[in-house]
């Protein structure tokens, strides 16, 4: 720059010889040349000064960082982006620099081999993906670039709500990209197997995300379609029983003390049950759950309760344990209510587990404070009673019929909605148990509740079920119970009245 200014000022470009036609225009040419050089240099300087001004005085980088919603760490990535863009436009064409954008920059970084660069890339993408303003564009850009996404998921799954929001966004925008979604899901399922203490957080986030995603029917089918998915989910549920030492005993339950192991087993149990519960909304998945080795006994073990647990009041530990019981009962209910052959197999397998029915009985016996649990337990019993074997197993488990009747014929009633539902469910279960089973009917008659059942025909809430039970008792008890059943005659007026009342529906009374 100095040279060109000097030359321009001096205006002396050497002697011009007369007649030297070639050099005649040298002065003008050189003037133009030097002024151009000067102008370029000035422009360059001005640009430099402008950027210096923008960066240091106007805090350009800070502003960008703030606008993108990056944190303190974001500054590094922004700086890096700007320097990269700058050097690109200096070295190559200016258009190379202008065309650059943060997202592809981050994707490039993520694709590099240096782990620091990968981390920076992952961070940038994360910030954009969770930012409402940029999320859509960002995700569109990421597209189905699987290697990028793979690393992306790996780096970000630890961040609360991150992958979840990302995936949900993806699902909303591009429903058709099944390949991508399946990829996400299989990656998450794989993470469920990471049992290292250091990876507890990743595992938990993956489980949480899966539990939310599995709520959508399409996704639940996809998850179940991933090979080994059920085993991975099953690994979330802690294996509570050791192998028995002799063939005539069953392994003890291992007790885990959370503070001892620093590992939040109950949380994982709950998440595992929640995922399974959501998957079980589809009947095919129920079959898969049943076929997964060792899963059903684990689930049944979670339905175990005792008096202290259900009568204890409001401690956090208790709440989380009760939640586990509730979820496992809900899951079992879904499984046993499956129709068709699958359902038959599931009902058989579940009632063959030696703890099922006694666990359910304990829920009925101690669960006065938890009518919802009681109702679930009773409904499970009704479904198990669909199979002849199950029906008899329930009746010979001590106290089940007695508990059911004491709920059904309860005389002290508070009249709240939940209680009513429990009582109706109990009536249905008894009706099922009395169906086509002579031994069960005899058991019921032995309880000495026949008179009260006949009286129950007058109680609007339970009369339908009472009538069902009585009919089954009349049909299936057999001749030797004739004496017990004589009392049924007292029901005759009630039943004939209710039949006769019907005709008024079709022909109103004439008077």
């Amino acid at each position: 720059m100095a040279l060109s200014s000097y030359k321009l000022v001096m205006h002396n470009y050497g002697d011009v010889q007369d007649g030297d036609l070639d050099k005649r225009n040298r002065q003008a040419a050189l003037s133009i040349f030097y002024s151009l050089a000067l102008a370029e240099a000035l422009l360059f300087l001005a640009e430099k000064a402008y950027w210096e001004w923008e960066v240091s005085v106007c805090h350009l980088l800070e502003n960008v960082t703030r606008e993108c919603g990056f944190g303190v760490t974001g500054m590094v990535s922004i700086k890096r982006f700007f320097y990269d863009a700058y050097s690109k436009s200096v070295n190559g064409s200016i258009f190379d620099g202008v065309k650059m954008d943060m997202v592809s920059f981050a994707m490039d970084l993520l694709g590099s081999n240096c782990s620091d660069e990968q981390l920076i890339g992952a961070r940038i993408l994360r910030q954009f993906a969770v930012n409402e303003r940029f999320a859509e564009d960002t995700l569109e850009k990421i597209g189905i670039n699987l290697p990028v996404i793979e690393r992306f998921v790996l780096y970000n799954v630890k961040m609360p709500n991150f992958v979840e929001s990302l995936i949900i966004l993806r699902l909303q925008f591009v429903e058709t990209e099944t390949k991508l979604i399946s990829f996400f899901l299989s990656r998450l399922v794989e993470m469920l197997n990471w049992k290292d203490l250091q990876e507890e957080e990743i595992r938990r986030s993956a489980a949480e995300i899966l539990s939310k995603l599995a709520g959508k029917k399409q996704n639940s089918l996809r998850v179940a379609g991933i090979s080994g998915a059920m085993e991975s989910i099953s690994s979330l549920l802690q294996n509570t029983r050791s192998l028995g030492e002799a063939p005539d005993e069953i392994g003890e339950k291992k007790l885990f003390h959370d503070h001892h192991l620093h590992y939040d087993f109950w949380r994982f149990n709950n998440l595992g049950l929640l995922i399974l519960k959501k998957l079980s909304r589809d009947h095919d998945n129920c079959g898969k759950i049943g076929n997964t080795r060792g899963l059903l006994p684990k689930i049944i073990d979670f339905t175990h309760t005792d008096a202290t647990l259900l009568k204890d009041e409001n401690a956090d530990m208790v709440l989380s344990r009760v939640l586990t019981v509730k979820r496992s009962l809900q899951l079992v209910k879904m499984l046993v209510s499956t129709s068709g052959n699958t359902g038959k197999c599931l009902r058989r397998e579940i009632s063959e587990i030696v703890f099922t029915i006694s666990n359910l009985r304990d829920v009925l016996r101690h669960g006065v404070r938890y009518p919802k649990l009681q109702k679930l337990g009773i409904e499970i019993l009704s479904f198990l009673a669909l199979e002849t074997d199950g029906r008899e197993r329930i009746a010979v488990t001590g106290g089940v019929l007695k508990e059911l009747f004491s709920i059904f014929l309860k005389s002290k009633i508070h009249g709240d909605e939940n209680e009513k539902r429990v009582r109706m469910a109990a009536g249905e279960a008894i009706g099922m148990l009395a169906l086509e089973s002579r031994s069960n009917c005899i058991q019921i008659l032995k309880l000495g509740v026949f008179g009260r059942l006949v009286e129950a025909l007058e109680v609007p809430l339970i009369r339908v079920n009472a009538a069902r039970v009585l009919r089954n008792l009349c049909i299936y008890s057999g001749h030797e119970c004739f004496l017990d059943l004589r009392f049924i005659k007292t029901a005759a007026p009630t039943v004939s009245m209710s039949v006769c009342r019907y005709k008024y529906c079709v022909e109103p009374p004439k008077d």
Binding site: A467, K489, A492, P493, S496, V499, Y502, C505, V506, P508
Partner: protein
């Protein structure tokens, strides 16, 4: 009020189970006992029979909510006819035959089960509705000749 309430499906269920119970209860009673109970409750046999026929009239096809209602009606009618030969003539006068023929034309597998798992019936009853309806029809016709 009572009439309105009876039409709701909830009461249809009650009617179904009560009919089912009635069909069994009367089997435990002798003819005289049944007569005494009915007279004590102020119910005439005519009324009872009339109810049964009108229930069949209303349920001219199997209902998924009350699948067994026609079976129970026919069971009860068969008991009444077995109980007292006079009842046969009464049913005939009320047009029971026509209703039974209609039942025979519309019976469904649905009506042969006590319990369902999904749409699959559990434990089929040995006496199908078709069989019961034919039996009742035969009883009506036999007395004719």
């Amino acid at each position: 009020m009572q009439v309105l309430k009876s039409i709701t499906s909830g009461d249809n269920k009650l009617l179904e189970v009560m009919l089912g119970l009635a069909a069994q209860v009367f089997k435990f009673m002798s003819s005289e006992e049944a007569n005494i109970v009915l007279t004590d409750s102020g119910i005439k046999k005519q009324e009872l029979a009339n109810s049964l026929v009108s229930i069949l009239k209303k349920h001219d096809k199997p209902a998924i909510k009350v699948p067994r209602i026609r079976r129970f009606v026919i069971e009860l009618a068969i008991w009444m006819m077995e109980d007292d030969v006079e009842n046969v003539g009464m049913f005939r006068d009320l047009g029971m035959e026509k209703e039974l023929v209609k039942v025979l034309e519309t019976t469904a597998e649905l009506e042969n089960f006590d319990v369902f798992s999904g749409t699959v019936g559990v434990s089929r009853q040995s006496r199908t509705v078709h069989w019961l309806a034919e039996l009742a029809l035969k009883m009506l016709e036999d007395e004719h000749s």
